[in-house]
């Protein structure tokens, strides 16, 4: 427990400079942009004169110098204030917190699906390297890995939502249904099936391949050879020795993939019209809403830091038990 706290504390301290780099870097990037959110807003009005634009810019502080705005931003951020979105005219933190749960559900489910199914299939493939199951899964997973997720999403929605009508085409829940409790949870789950499948497939393939590769590596190690020499049942060797040792790198990979998956949710949430964090990012880009985009990037960075911390904690918790088996290395 004490070890865990030290880890958390150390991580938090080391994250601060990294976050600062993210903030300054993003700020500089957005400074390069031509046109700002006020322009984008005026188009939605169908035009507007210079006076209106000027007063809007003043009210959002867009007329100040870049350095002054950066300083204001960083100091507000220190008070957990992300500012006000120009496109939505609301506090950014509110908007993000409203959208984040949907994305966390989407990513969480996709991760669980990809991790469990990927690991299991990986074990099947890795149990007998070079076997028929191994070859089939290997090729199959590569093909999955190569399919663009937005494309998969379109096809899934076409087949299972529009043609077969098994699942809804879009959204996170039935709108204004008045459902609560379990009924609502089931409703949300039904809406999540297709997007989760579209988002998770690529990671399923990834975990499958890693698991298989990891197992192939472990098979060759001395302690497995020793176990086989002792005449232990193959099934027991596969599960107790090989699979468990191959699992560790996957846990690390979970953390590394968090950022990629968050990026992937941008496209998936657009295809399935899910009011999530990823789509918000696209909306912010389209509306040239620099403060909102800043907020999104900062929050996603924090999110990735937290996920990695959790992964590290899980790793620290898993490691000693597994370490016992790793006498040879």
């Amino acid at each position: 427990m004490k070890r865990a706290w030290t880890l958390v504390r150390r991580r938090m301290v080391s994250s601060i400079p990294v976050l600062l780099i993210v903030v300054v870097g993003t700020f500089l990037l957005l400074e390069m942009a031509s046109g700002d959110a006020v322009d984008a807003y005026l188009v939605s009005l169908g035009g507007g004169d210079a006076g209106l634009a000027q007063s809007l810019r003043e009210s959002y502080g867009l007329d100040r110098s870049a350095l002054a705005r950066l300083w204001l931003y960083v100091s507000a951020l220190a008070r957990l204030d992300l500012g006000v979105s120009v496109a939505f005219n609301r506090p950014i933190l509110d908007i993000i917190l409203e959208r984040l749960p949907n994305t966390l559900w989407l990513m969480g489910s996709a991760t669980v699906l990809a991790f469990t199914l990927g690991t299991l299939l990986g074990i099947v493939a890795g149990a007998k390297p070079g076997g028929a199951a191994d070859r089939a899964l290997s090729v199959g997973s590569l093909a999955l890995y190569a399919i663009p997720s937005f494309w998969l999403g379109l096809v899934l929605s076409l087949v299972f939502a529009v043609q077969l009508r098994w699942f809804p085409t879009a959204g996170i829940e039935t709108i204004a249904s008045g459902k609560t409790g379990l009924a609502r949870a089931l409703d949300i789950a039904r809406h999540l099936v297709l997007p989760v499948a579209a988002l998770g497939m690529i990671y399923l393939a990834l975990f499958l391949r890693m698991m298989r590769a990891g197992m192939a590596e472990v098979w060759r190690q001395d302690f497995v050879l020793a176990a086989r020499a002792k005449g232990l049942a193959r099934r027991r060797i596969v599960l107790r020795h090989v699979a468990r040792n191959a699992l560790l790198p996957l846990v690390t990979m979970l953390g590394l993939q968090a950022a990629t998956m968050l990026g992937g949710s941008v496209v998936i949430e657009s295809v399935f019209a899910i009011p999530g964090f990823g789509r918000l990012a696209y909306e912010a880009v389209a509306a040239r809403d620099a403060p909102l985009l800043m907020g999104i990037i900062v929050v996603s960075a924090v999110l990735v830091i937290v996920v990695n911390l959790l992964v590290d904690l899980a790793y620290a918790w898993l490691d000693p038990r597994v370490g016992a088996g790793e006498a040879s290395s």
Binding site: G35, S44, N89, E98, A170
Partner: protein
């Protein structure tokens, strides 16, 4: 009536696919709809301000027009093609210095307070004139509004103001706000801007950001037996492909503003239970325009502009980019505005040889690589059609030896490049014709407009004759004389080509066959839907 017929004829000039769609049985004529039901509609954006008195844009009207009403709505027939809403009559004085509105009796706001002329006076003086994007133009010379009694409002102008323009502007610029909720507050940041209170057939119930808007029936609505529906839900579906799928799965019953892509219409019109309606956009005409930077020496030459006009195959554009759901344009006023439309203007038939000859004449022979000169084209990113026409234009100009590079920008960058920095050679734009040339059309060619005003002449074009006509029309009270001036305006623009009008288009609605009374007025998508119903 006439405007509707012309629109249809215009559409029929296009591809054959339209014949099939128009043959669909009676979507337009009044149907008897039963009471009750929930209509779920696709919406592609969430305006940050839902107040149509401040933001007169179609995205805002689409939702808020059911809640907040104007003085009058556009109609297929009736006096001046208007249907009375909160006003029952309007009359301009001979001298053009005042307009008198008689208001409807017995109307209450959604919060129960009575609607009176004080609300109209407040909206006009405190909101439309100073704050609204279009009202700032229409009511620029509005001096004051007198309210002799609760049901009369007299608008006083400092200079003669044509009643024709005021009338044409009524549906768009006169959304009335409740004075008792806005008076003494900061109007631009009033919370009612995002939870509007009006007199319309539906009350604003809730907004779940990213998910939906919900409107519920106003039981105290003044229209007898209206509204029909219990509830309207605007479901946010920003992805165009999503709307078609949701319609087919009956998750939504209606998608307006061509949210179902044109290319999908022929297929979807064959899906049982769905109908495609092209009516209901006659007064919402968008124009496909090639804007030109006259600061570019090459483009300042009329022959070059004429050559470009001859190089564009308008019929091909209508048939391919718009799949027939548009009409070729002849000038700056669309055929959908019969009050003003002048067909007797110089035309530029598709003629590659003539275009080549004109360019040779202008002194730009083809070089060794077959090209005469290079241009940078900035297609506006507002519609997939403007982008696609950009792709087409690049090819069409390549045929006459003009090497075009497309510069793709997102909306803010595009606006800055074109309207503020003037950093372009040609652009593809999509201005809207708003019922009267004085509202948003003359500004496209008039000189002396400040830098940075969007959707205005930022190409550096200046024509004293044209400017004089525009100025004169703005103060001509007599409707006939004013219309004649706009006929000249069209002739000069079409002849001198400050910009090139290519096509004009409305939108399409796809709805469940159960939705009754779709598209029965020229601004249907942004009207109040009081008679819209759901058949069992």
């Amino acid at each position: 009536m006439s405007s509707f017929q012309i629109s249809r004829r215009g559409l029929l000039q296009g591809a054959a696919s339209i014949a099939l769609l128009s043959a669909l049985p009676g979507a337009v004529h009044a149907q008897e709809a039963p009471q009750g039901g929930r209509l779920v509609v696709a919406a592609d954006s969430e305006p940050r301000n839902l107040n149509p008195a401040i933001v007169a844009s179609n995205a805002v009207f689409f939702i808020s027009s059911k809640v907040i009403e104007p003085l009058a709505e556009a109609a297929l027939d009736g006096e001046g093609a208007l249907a009375p809403r909160l006003a029952t009559s309007w009359e301009g004085a001979e001298d053009g210095l005042s307009v008198t509105f008689k208001l409807r009796e017995g109307v209450t706001w959604h919060d129960g307070k009575p609607f009176t002329s004080a609300d109209v006076a407040f909206s006009a003086m405190e909101v439309w004139k100073p704050l609204q994007n279009l009202g700032r133009i229409v009511f620029a010379n509005l001096e004051g509004v007198d309210t002799p009694d609760d049901l009369t409002a007299v608008f006083r102008f400092s200079t003669p103001t044509p009643i024709q323009m005021i009338r044409n502007a009524l549906p768009v610029v006169t959304s009335v706000l409740p004075k008792h909720l806005y008076e003494g507050t900061d109007i631009a940041s009033n919370p009612a801007n995002n939870a509007p209170v009006g007199t319309g057939p539906f009350k604003f119930a809730e907004h779940r950001p990213g998910e939906y808007y919900r409107l519920t029936r106003n039981d105290a609505y003044w229209g007898e037996g209206q509204p029909k529906l219990d509830e309207i839900i605007f479901r946010i579906l920003p992805d165009r492909a999503a709307a078609a799928s949701a319609l087919e799965a009956d998750e939504i019953q209606l998608a307006a503003f061509s949210q179902v892509p044109l290319v999908d219409l022929e297929r979807i019109s064959k899906v049982p239970g769905l109908k495609v309606v092209t009516e209901g956009y006659e007064a919402l005409t968008y124009q496909l325009v090639v804007e030109i930077n006259h600061r570019n020496k090459i483009l300042a030459d009329l022959k070059v502009r004429q050559a470009i006009a001859h190089a564009i195959d308008r019929d091909f554009v209508v048939a391919t980019v718009f799949l027939g759901f548009a009409a070729p344009a002849t000038g700056p006023v669309p055929q959908n505005a019969p009050e003003f439309y002048n067909p007797d203007v110089p035309e530029y038939a598709y003629d590659v040889d003539k275009a080549n000859a004109l360019l040779d004449e202008a002194g730009y022979p083809r070089g060794a690589d077959g090209n005469r000169f290079q241009l940078r084209l900035l297609p506006a990113p507002f519609f997939s059609e403007t982008r696609q026409f950009g792709d087409y234009l690049r090819q069409a100009l390549a045929d006459v030896g003009i090497d075009v590079t497309i510069v793709a920008n997102d909306t803010p960058a595009h606006l800055k490049a074109v309207y503020a920095d003037h950093d372009f050679d040609i652009t593809v734009g999509s201005p809207v014709f708003r019922g009267d040339p004085a509202i948003s059309t003359t500004i496209l060619v008039q000189s002396g407009i400040a830098d940075g005003v969007f959707f205005s002449n930022q190409g550096g074009y200046a024509n004293a004759e044209l400017d004089a006509i525009i100025a004169e029309a703005a103060e001509t009270v007599d409707t006939e004389a004013r219309t004649a001036l706009y006929n000249d305006f069209q002739r000069i623009v079409a002849g001198d080509l400050p910009l090139i009008n290519v096509a004009e288009w409305g939108f399409t609605t796809v709805a469940s066959a159960r939705v009754a009374n779709v598209g029965n007025n020229p601004r249907w998508a942004v009207s109040n839907w009081a008679d819209t119903g759901l058949l069992p």
